[in-house]
Amino acid sequence: MKNSLRHDILSGTRDGIPIAMGYFAVAFSLGIIAKKAGLTALIGFISSFFTRASAGEYGVYTLVAVNATYVELIAMCLVVNLRYMLMSAALSQKLSPTLSWFHRIMMACCITDEIFGISINHKGYTPPAYTYSAALISGIFWASGCAAGIIAGGMLPTSIVSALSVALYGMFLAIIMPMARNDRDVLYAIIASFVMSGVFAITPVLSDINSGTRTIILTIVISAVAAWLKPLPLNNDGEA
């Protein structure tokens, strides 16, 4: 038992380190925006550590910068982070039925795109210690990156900042492509996502929809169509 806990912490940290590296770079560019909204490095650190929501935080800081109402801010958080709600529902299927409420709630709070990605890929039921370790190390780097961006942002040349900004997307690809290779249906769903998302971005009127809302709409529609056309076979071993 002790050994498996140790193993979960080690493997969680190991898988969390590459995420942490990418997070630092992405959070750095987020820090530049946070600074414009008037956040100090300390508030940026706290905000980033406890929300860990890239697009959500971007939305929040742009609203803070224009002195928006509190209601607008809450609405932004709920809409832009709606995908976490879907991820949380998906992750609920990867938890042992005997897992306590405390761990369920804590694991839900750990969800980010990447932490969700590695947690859902864990074989069998996902152990809490694995998710916590990965979330802790990546959360610290995410928050530090944001604070660093607030302090030092604007000192780096644009060519470097824009090159760093693709790190996040590279990580997304590394999460989805291996699964696409294993499951032809996932590959088709990913191709459909690329095509639809591209069409949304260039079609007049549709392109006015911000990328957070586009993500929500397309995720629901494409996943529903995929589930309808290519449902999963029945299984009872608790693995997704």
Partner: protein, 105 residues
Amino acid sequence: MEKHDIVLYILLAIIATNLIRVVPIALIKGEIKNTFLRSFLYYVPYVTLAVMTFPDMIQATMTPLSGIVALSVGIIAAWYGMGLFPVAIICCVIAYFFNGLGAFM
């Protein structure tokens, strides 16, 4: 207009962002039996990440060309099972290289 409190802003953001994460996992205990719902949840993560990657990735770079090359190479590297960090680094290096190339064209 009254200036809002930045600390309260951040506090509300923290509460709202985490609440949306907690609600489903707190409500769903045990295995979902409905095949459609299980299948839907199976596809959600891959579709979400794919939608967020394209076309945003080619808009994040200084020229669309550098984004397109970084995306293509990233897809190939990820397809052949390179880890999160190697793929991320490869994409950054390619984007940086082609950003620089774009400046001369």
